[in-house]
Amino acid sequence: MNDLIISGGTLVDPIDNYFGPGAVVVSQGKFAEIIKDKKQPKGNIDASGMIICPGLVDMHVHLREPGYEYKETIQSGALAAAAGGFTSIACMPNTEPALDNQEQIRFVLEKAKAAAVHVYPVGALTKGRQGKELAEMADMREAGAVAFSDDGTGVQNGNMMRRSLEYCRMLDVAVLSHCQYDDLADGGVMNESYYSTSLGLRGATRIAEELMIARDLMLAQYTNSKIHIQHVTSIGGIELIRNAKRQGIKVTAETCPHYLVFSDDCLKTYDTNLKVNPPIRGKKDMAALKKALASGIIDVIATDHAPHAWEEKALEFDYAPSGLIGLETALAVVATELVHKNVLDWLSLIKLMTLNPAQILNIPAGRFENNLPADITLIDPELEWTFAETDIKSLSKNSPFVGWKFKGRVTKTIVSGKTVFEL
């Protein structure tokens, strides 16, 4: 018996670069038939005027549970994801305690059973994310961790990073690297630039990020391991990754919507929602990141969704924590800024938010294929709307996008054949 037939829209499938009329048939929560043709069965969901794409995948979110449930829980984060069209999310291990052992991974997966979307835990590379001893990654892998990372801080010790890469090669998983040398960042709270000088805020040099990217690329080459560079922000980082790819190093990279639309001059308002680590760079970096997405140097758009309570952000700039939420706005931001401004077409954009992250994490998502979980996102590509605080499903409201006008919006999110969000 077929539960769902979605038809009448434009089907986008990055696995074979299909962009055209199509329909999807869902049976018992799985894809039963994918039709890439004008000839379609009569559907029970009319997607005319809509894009039908594989459910979006966000390989970089912070769900804050356990430890910081007042900021976000696995349930609330999953609802925010659903509202943003994401059907699979990978959560980072910088919880309290850190996700650094099998029990913690099981805890997340147990909680995730009741969540609106698929939640894939990322385990810590090192015990307590302290960068000193390897965490029990084989155990965690067995329990369901899809990748490993000390995200939130960079692994400062080069030899520790080498061992992490070597160990993860044995497990055939990618190391997700947050690149920043703390000593070079020098306690900076924004990008070091003319604006840090004129605003009187401590600057973190881009070299703090780029030097660690360079280190990790060399180590990945030397150890023949897979490295994924998280939240790339700068021209220098892009250049390093481009060269590494040319040399055949197994590297992938992501950037985030906020790095594509904000530059360091925006800090003039001392808006703590724009305080993020690594920091928002200059206008030239912004332009280069867009080009790098278009040319395929950067493989993924991820949100780095980082919820913080209002009272934590309503502080003097230095005292506020880093990070902003992004699940609800990501697709709208990149649709408005990249597709409607002719940087990318819809197919390329969707690939960056579905197939590519799914392949890096090796999870059953990101493409239309029979018997995969029927995760589907419907997008109205032309819908103009204004993002309001009431649109936020996350427990935290630290978004710099409130009040922004967007073109393009997720209208329906389906996870394993079940509608989890509908406009």
């Binding site: 004129s198 308002t269 001392y270 309503a314 502080l315 700039f317 230095d318």
Partner: protein
Amino acid sequence: MKLRSPHLLGLEGVPAADINLFLDTAVTLREILSRPIKKVPTLRHITVLNLFFEPSTRTRISFELAEKRLSADQINFSKATSSVTKGETLLDTIWNIEAMKIDMVVIRHSVGGTPYFLSQHCDSKIINAGDGTHEHPTQGLLDMLTMRDKYGKLEGLRVVIVGDIKHSRVARSNIWGLKTLGASVAVCGPTTLLPYEIEKMGVDVYTRIEEALDGADVVNVLRLQQERQSSGLLPSLREYSIRFGITKERLKYLKPNFTIMHPGPMNRGVEISSEVADGPDSVILPQVTNGVAVRMAVLYLLSGGVGKIE
């Protein structure tokens, strides 16, 4: 004449008309300071909160005196005695005090942008008394008034700021204000104490003191903090002093009618020699007097400039 801005958060972007109004009003109010009864009732309807989150002697006393001379009611609050140490946020602190009905807040804080942040969340008029390494606008104004007293105008003057530019809010406020009024500004210091892309603020940058002083009218000497050595920015105060210290010998590079300034507190023998600090061309003490006058002008104009000056 009315000010354009409701607050004084910095001198960046403040139009020349506003700066001139501050300076002209300061000259008018300065006369009160030399009267036998140094007090007027002009701001008796105004309550000012002095909110100091960083140690300060001179700026704090200067603001307190300016408020007293204008008969404003004042509340003094410092970090040591505040509930901030009990974990209350800055906004809660300010909202509670505002609920007791105050009109203006003078704030000194170690984090840049905090006065701006307060201005976004409070009803009071905010006066920045120094925020991190961002700005110290009343110091900028008093320095400009002191220069104007001597030269009659600021346009065409060559001002050199020497020392730890990186950490100096005084330097930034001086640069913005002086450039707005048509002076040319140079900065000079060791490269480790020059902030990133400072030249984009429209200043000439020097690392040789002789070149920086060449043909300048005014030298504004900044305090060099002892901890710059321990934090790895300088090899030693000794080497700094030899290379950048303002000594009598170095004054020969300046224009004949030159002026020596220092925002205080001084490290005699480090960034400036006593001979120069106490010499005939030093206006360091007149700067302090002008500080009170400028702060009176700022309080008066931001409160609406409506009370009568008798």
